[in-house]
Point group: C2
Chain length 493, copies 2
């Protein structure tokens, strides 16, 4: 469903075609606020309610909603969300937004249906089963497909797709939030947290900064969001340390030879935004090795069955592809992007979410997306995305100083955004140590380790890959419980 | 059963009390050879035959033998063995000796009954079950409890136990071999290989050198052994690189903090045979972290149940123990020794092998061992062992030049003798590269990686810990098949 007042606002936006996006967004807020004050939100909210989904197993009673939120009236940009109220006392639980990365990967396809959502796609895509480690035991849980072009989200202005970059994504996500709160004003005062993994390591801090800044804007253009902090998993954060960590991890975890490791260490200057040809050549040898295993979970079996569609293999490119793209000279240009995962999972979700009855039940059969096939990751978004931000560390510094609650977690069996690089950049923030590195426990075992600095905590999850809530669901739930509740992770067995 | 001619030779040895051990051993050979030529071996061999063991499951027909071989008549040193003929065409299969490490750990308790033997102890020690990945599919398989004091092996001269060191162990093992071949002369001409893991990383090359040297001795003191090569797993080899690797592995695998890693890197000179007090202090912090997980398999659950006997915990010492032993200033003095494993496994084996009916069936109820409780690892051996050899690399160089077939394998999830250190010392041999580092495949997945140098191959086993045949039995079998058959590991999926 689109935002309720679209006809009126559409004409308004046609008259204002040259306005800046920031002013536009404030106008969106104003129009949505009007809707809210008139009580129109109740109708829109109810229209988004999901009664039951095809093949949904019996599960605890749980309110869910899904549909579209307009983020740019003029260009016809609509972002799709799926929202689950907390399983118990939703009125007293925080609101948690979850974002997947890619760029181009769907928070429905990964976060909701494979990782931490309460309804998980069954093995062959025939239906949904209840996930007893769902994070909506802890929070009201909001999944957003972002940016436009991802999953069911769309734009009626195809040129938008060539303009996607981190700033664009953050602006649209911010507009989404503002208008989502208009449709669900009962959550406006809840504590609000942002979470995500992989390339959402960019999205999450960037959106956080926008929310923080606009909350402080004195001109009352922007509604106040009760924003408390963010948590990111295996987050792409700073190219230099992420790349250095990737190389060192591949060697210390037996993926590459001594020769490739030493050569890459010598010829690659990861401080460069674009790698030199020499560096690309040797790094492509490294990625050739990763083609043989699941880079996102290096000890797991690799899925060897074919994905349902040829293009739905968002993980590691072939060596040929990697070398072919070397001209662009960067990790990203080599197509080795985070956020994707195993094509086996993709295939199951793609079976399910492309069913007409499922689309209808989810209110996802809007004009702009009805005839497009839904994919877990959209490779064309990945290819055309404009990578312009090499580091989000300045945002960390700013938001740590602002007193937000910031946690970083890392599944330590991930080769793509490895814990080694994450340790490096967290340490590079040069924050005072609050509590030393030590284990945390889960069910009598070491769940991982954690270290607390003044302003940020780093938590590792032992034996988990890139998608922690998939690989270690019980540990993942314990982690988000600790984060949201403010309780320390268990330090005794 | 003791060697057949004991009464005669005993008196001989009493007369020769001051002879050197090497001359003694040649005399042992001579007396045993006399027994063989007289045909007496057949009786002794049959007396060692094991018909059936208590609680043994039905399994493929398989000849097995066990008993004692005298290695020093004068002092009454008897080594216990358990031998399984190959499951098929034993007359055409090579003979493979397996040694566990410790020092103090039993090749019966680990190798035979937990790892690669055809009869594995059941979970609660009630019986034995057939292991379908047993290495006697590939070879005639000989397990030796070495040195005296380990398992059922014993000495009647308790002062022997204070003299144990690598040289002592190798001499006794050599004497064992010579006399075992007298009892089983039908194997004298078979291709012979030596294998083992952990601290057997010392035993195996040292015994190999002895066999090699004595085969070449021109004086015909020593019978010829058709020795072809050796293979070692997660082998303690060279203190410097093993220790460096241990530290780097602990950091790169999220076990220790940045602070401990950097401090240890600064204050520890692993080239010293005994660490400085400063180094011991910081390394004890590292081992404190390893107390929380299974150092021998860092992603596995740690066994949290109590071992059957308080002293049967051969793995990681408590932090207090570690610090208490710091005076001795070495990794070994800290009690953190390889070879041991999880007390849960120990408990099962100790239940079983301490049964009187089991001892009787195995011919293990000899005078010297009957009243002693059998342990998977004997801590007192570990404590009193004289560590005098910091590196066995000179032996590698010598035996590589001799053209022996030498393989090293490494489960890459082992924190105790980690693959990082093994990579370092293998590279330090400075051998020409024969084939580059690349994956090998097993059942459509990457089993690990391997690299071949002129004279030595290094094979990793992905996701396996210290005890590869226990953690990855199918991969372990594929590995020993490749080694023994001379076929390359599969390089295609």
């Amino acid at each position: 469903m689109a935002a309720p007042m679209r006809p009126t606002s559409l004409s308004l936006f046609f008259m204002l075609g040259t306005l800046s996006s920031s002013l536009l967004c404030s106008l969106i807020s104003i129009e949505a606020a009007a809707a809210a004050s008139s009580g129109g939100y109740q109708h829109a909210q109810e229209a988004d309610r999901v009664s039951a989904l095809p093949g949904q197993s019996s599960n605890p009673a749980m309110s869910q909603f899904s549909g579209y939120i307009t983020v740019n009236q003029q260009n016809g940009r609509e972002l799709f969300y799926w929202f689950f109220e907390a399983q118990t006392v939703p009125s007293q639980r925080p609101l948690l937004l979850w974002l997947n990365g890619g760029p181009g990967c769907s928070s429905i396809g990964y976060g909701a249906a494979v990782e931490l959502g309460p309804l998980r796609v069954k093995r062959n895509g025939t239906g949904l089963e209840f996930n007893r480690y769902a994070w909506n035991q802890e929070a009201n849980l909001l999944f957003l497909e972002s940016p436009v072009g991802v999953g069911f989200s769309y734009t009626n202005t195809s040129s938008d797709l060539s303009k996607l970059d981190d700033g664009f994504v953050a602006e649209d996500a911010y507009n989404f939030l503002v208008n989502w709160f208009k449709r669900f004003p009962q959550y406006q005062t809840h504590d609000f947290y942002i979470s995500g993994e992989s390339y959402a390591g960019h999205y999450v801090p960037q959106l956080s900064e926008l929310v923080y800044d606009r909350n402080r804007d004195g001109k009352n253009y922007y509604p106040h969001i009760n924003f408390k902090g963010f948590i990111v998993g295996n987050p792409e954060t700073e190219d230099y340390n992420d790349s250095k960590g990737l190389l060192e991890y591949a060697w210390s975890h037996t993926v590459v030879s001594n020769e490739v490791f030493r050569l890459a260490s010598r010829v690659c200057d990861f401080r460069l935004f674009n790698w030199t040809d020499e560096c690309v050549t040797v790094m492509s040898l490294l990625f050739q090795q990763y083609r043989e295993i699941d880079i996102y979970n290096i000890y797991a079996p690799k899925c060897t069955s074919k994905p349902s569609s040829a293009s739905s293999s968002p993980g590691v490119p072939s060596a040929a592809e990697a070398v072919e793209r070397r001209g662009k000279g960067s990790l990203r240009a080599m197509g080795v992007l985070p956020g994707g995962y195993d094509p086996c999972y993709s295939a199951y979700a793609e079976e399910y979410f492309n069913r007409a009855d499922v689309k209808k039940s989810l209110h996802a059969d809007a004009f702009g997306s009805a005839n497009r096939s839904w994919k877990v990751c959209n490779d064309s978004i990945l290819r055309t995305y404009n990578f312009t931000v090499a580091s989000v560390l300045p945002i960390y510094t700013k938001l740590i100083n602002a007193g937000l609650k910031i946690w970083v977690y890392s599944g330590d069996a991930d080769g793509r955004v490895p814990v080694i690089g994450t340790r490096y950049w967290v340490e590079s923030l040069a924050l005072p140590l609050r509590s030393q590195w030590r284990p945390w426990y889960h069910r009598g075992q070491v769940g991982g380790r954690f270290v607390e600095y003044e302003g940020v905590a780093l938590v590792t999850v032992r034996g988990a890959g890139h998608l922690v809530p998939l690989n270690k669901p019980s540990e993942g739930l314990a982690l988000i419980n600790s984060y949201l509740s403010g309780r320390q992770l268990p330090t005794r067995r």
